[in-house]
Subunit: 222 residues, 2 copies
Amino acid sequence: MGRHFDVELADLKNALLKMGTLTEEAIANSIEALKNRDASLARVIIEGDAAIDALELAIDDTCVDLIALYQPVARDLRLIMTGMKINAELERIADLAVDIAERTIELVDKPHLKPLVDIPKLAALAQSMVRMALDSFVKGDPELAKKVLLSDPEANALRDAVQSELIDDYMVKDGSTAPRAVQLLLIARFLERVCDHATNIAENVIYLARAEVVRHRPIDPE
Amino acid sequence: MGRHFDVELADLKNALLKMGTLTEEAIANSIEALKNRDASLARVIIEGDAAIDALELAIDDTCVDLIALYQPVARDLRLIMTGMKINAELERIADLAVDIAERTIELVDKPHLKPLVDIPKLAALAQSMVRMALDSFVKGDPELAKKVLLSDPEANALRDAVQSELIDDYMVKDGSTAPRAVQLLLIARFLERVCDHATNIAENVIYLARAEVVRHRPIDPE
């Protein structure tokens, strides 16, 4: 592969970084909108998703064009394939920011339920996992990617705790809280799915670095 | 591309069909388990998911190997790329069957809530959309794929109707139903996501057939 291919590969990485930045912003804003009951910020996220979708398609096309034009093999081919997968994961994270924004708009009309139980904690975890996953990709650092994988059980536990609290302490005790509690429950689930996508990105980084499949296998914490 | 490439491409298509069959079975079984409150069938689905994950990885590797070995361009390259994407969508559908099975196991211990509101209707729609999406891929039939896209609003409407009914007619009126009603609400959401993945498969079929991007764009029903 000549120098031109390397330049195009660097461009691809930059485009993915831009995708990552936009996605991180969308998630951060969706959490801000929820905390501050800010429907207009929620609407900004929903409207901004079209640009992220367009960037995803452009990156996808670039990857296919790079393969067709340069016919890379071995590590270069794997790198482009991994880029395509990470691109798709990022687009799904941005979609979840839209889902959170939509639930937030539903909530804003209704009286406050309570300090959002452990949702802010789960949100902070989700944001840190996305950031670590992206960093691990940029730096090609499988050790950092492993840390993302190790955080996933905590995300599941937090989601389950939020869910139990909303059901047992709110809905069961006072059925009239259900319309609001269900929205919060869904938001907790969306945030946990953000963590899942961060985990998928990290698995791809590890796979690329080691040419060893960690997807769908229990992770050894050592 | 010589005859050998064509043979390998046919093998890839067959592997994807097998993946499709296993996925359809998982979804069908998850709905049966729910309807019949059959925890042991639910466990079969959960245990069977490892085989589907393994097949997904094998197909993914085959796709990368085909590209590295034959360096296809234009339509052949797009076909393999589309195969990889459909493979990933199918794996996610199978994961949703596991999610439904897990919720079903939670429900089986508890008294029946009621005839599952419109969940069987949504389940039937999800199954038919997955089947149509797979058929459209196998036949390379973008018109059939378009029908899948046209069913997606109905899936959303059914999910919203189930959700409203569970909140307003159950949880709000009698908070003690919440632990069961939330499980059903989640199952309705999982089924709607199955429809979303069927839609993604259909979009890829249309994209491949027309080299025209329909992803992320509103669909013209004409």
